[in-house]
């Protein structure tokens, strides 16, 4: 099933949450909405899951209109909100049974779809949901969102605040669900997760900056990036920011990503400038841009 948004806008009083958002998600695609808190990601999810009505624009899911045909949509989509919203006082199994019953099905009927996720929390099926760890809650919430065999899955920041190991496992689960033919729209503030999506929309301040495959977005990066390293990170950043030819300076792990205003950049010039600034162990080499570089350039 496909998702389509055209010219969607929504304001809360004076605040424009999203403005003129248009994009399409193809059937079976894993599509990522990538952006920080406040970008408007949750508003988009709430409009698509028929929980919020847009001020302007139109959105459909498998051809069904999110306003007119909301009942048809609710039967065939699964939604995992960013905030844990299962019943804390029900046990793991009770929560799952509850959601299955609401959709007129049973755990047994759709067990094959949730099996590889649910099996990890099944040993604790009699524990109350409120007493689960963050990772376990996340798995239960995903199981509940899947129990009625949705054709489209909406996941709003499923990995926020989750450690890198659990994040990796979660994305492996998503890939397996995608293989079963489920269309997935997922949002995340972690730029490294963008590379795991088929296509992404970079979003900030309620507006889409770019929509494409992760590879295409990275390859369109307009500048050459240099990885610059030195013995004193703080001093290095300050010196680079004051360099007369500087275009951008962003710390990236143990190096700084530096771009230059000039077309003909001379490494030796920068090297001697940094030496004059009193830095040692200087290294300068070209580096490949990543999604985060692209995001920051587009958001400038």
């Amino acid at each position: 099933m496909s998702i389509s948004l055209s010219n969607i806008s929504k304001s809360y009083k004076k605040v424009k949450a999203v403005q003129d958002i248009s994009f399409d998600v193809n059937p079976g695609e894993l599509f990522g909405l990538i952006g920080p808190d406040g970008a408007g990601k949750t508003t988009i999810f709430r409009i698509l899951t028929t929980l919020l009505i847009a001020d302007e624009g139109r959105a459909t899911i498998a051809g069904f209109d999110v306003v007119k045909d909301y009942k048809a949509i609710r039967n065939s989509v699964g939604y995992m909100p960013g905030r844990f919203s299962l019943y804390q006082d029900l046990t793991v199994e009770e929560n799952l049974t509850f959601f299955a019953t609401i959709f007129g099905t049973t755990i047994e009927e759709n067990y094959d779809l949730i099996e590889d996720i649910y099996v990890q929390i099944e040993p604790f099926k009699n524990r109350r949901a409120g007493k689960l760890s963050g990772g376990m809650k996340q798995k239960l919430a995903l199981s509940c969102a899947l129990i009625h065999k949705p054709k489209v899955l909406f996941l709003d920041e499923p990995t926020t605040g989750v450690d890198p190991v659990s994040r990796k496992e979660f994305w492996e689960m998503l890939k397996r669900l995608q293989k079963k033919g489920i269309t997935i729209l997922v949002s995340t503030p972690y730029m490294d997760e963008a590379a795991l999506c088929d296509r992404i929309a970079l979003i900030q301040g309620g507006e889409i900056l770019e929509i494409d495959t992760p590879d295409a977005i990275v390859s369109e990066f307009p500048k050459t990036i240099y990885n610059v390293g030195a013995d004193n990170m703080y001093k290095l950043i300050q010196s680079l920011q004051q360099y007369e030819h500087v275009y951008s300076v962003f710390p990236f792990g143990e190096f700084v990503h530096y771009t230059d205003k000039r077309d003909s950049f001379e490494m030796a010039d920068l090297q001697s400038y940094l030496e004059k600034e009193g830095l040692a162990d200087i290294s300068i080499e070209t580096a490949k841009p990543n999604i985060e570089d692209a995001f920051m350039e587009l958001a400038r």
Binding site: D37, Q120, F124, G161, V165, P189, I237
Partner: protein, 258 residues
């Protein structure tokens, strides 16, 4: 200058019933150092941090923070540290200026000092135009930068930052780290937790907790050499594997952010 230890932890342990949340951890942090305290969700980071900031009594072991004992001198510890939680903890219904004044008062600064600090901070953060706006209306990134500055108001020796950059946009996240570098450069010790592994690379020293124990402790460079990988993300993935389904067996409330 970086010789003096401002945190000394030896065999520090915390148990809840028969569950050991923090299992005999030992490390030292020097003045002006940026110390990254990493670990998977539920590894025991928050429990350890609570002992260091004097709000949870250890079960055994010793620790000194800013020269004070975590058992008997918790009030002195609180006066000498700053703390910024992952949850925004300033008052949304007060303005930028009012928040600074309020927290300055809590920290016991004089009126004169508060005024001085307030002006300095507002101009440093470039908040002149919005210093009379309610904090609740600011974007997350500004709130976080303001929180950090407020945690430094009383010029603490150490500042504890619990996932300060979660959900913050990439540019602001870097501006935030520039503020951290600046504070460290001025001699403030930084104790920081994060789930962004590129941020782990910014630390002078990093520890990785796995199931209550510190399994790795060194500079990012040496850890990468030791595990023969290119990034801290790979170090983390190699080390912090979560064994088959494990649940928090303690009180559980310290593990989830919701």
């Amino acid at each position: 200058m970086k010789e003096e230890n401002v945190i000394e932890v030896n065999q520090l342990t915390k148990t809840f019933g028969d569950f050991t949340a923090v299992n005999a951890i030992s490390f030292e942090v020097k003045k002006g150092e940026i110390f990254g305290f990493l670990g998977a969700n539920g590894a025991g980071k928050t429990t350890a941090m609570k002992m260091l900031i004097g709000i949870s009594k250890p079960s055994s072991g010793t620790a000194k923070v800013a020269g004070f004992d975590v058992y008997s001198q918790t009030e002195s510890i609180k006066r000498n540290i700053g703390y910024m939680s992952q949850k925004f903890a300033l008052y949304d219904d007060l303005t930028v200026k009012e928040n600074i004044t309020f927290f300055g008062g809590i920290y016991g600064l004089s009126r004169k000092k508060i005024k001085e600090k307030r002006e300095e901070l507002v101009s440093e953060l470039g908040l002149e135009n919005i210093s009379n706006k309610l904090v609740g209306s600011l974007p997350l990134g500004w709130k976080q930068k303001l929180s950090f500055s407020v945690s430094l108001l009383h010029e603490p020796k150490i500042v504890f930052l619990d996932e300060p950059t979660g959900g913050v946009d990439p540019i602001t996240r870097r501006q935030f780290w520039e503020m951290i570098y600046k504070a460290a450069n001025q001699g403030t010790t930084i104790f920081v937790t994060t789930h962004y592994m590129d941020e782990a690379e910014y630390c002078d020293k990093v520890s990785i907790m796995v199931e209550g124990k510190i399994e790795a402790l060194d500079t990012p460079k040496k850890l990468k050499e030791q595990f023969r990988v290119d990034s801290m993300n790979d170090v983390f993935l190699k080390l912090a594997r979560i064994p088959s389904p494990t649940l928090p067996k303690g009180n559980g409330e310290n593990i989830d952010r919701n």
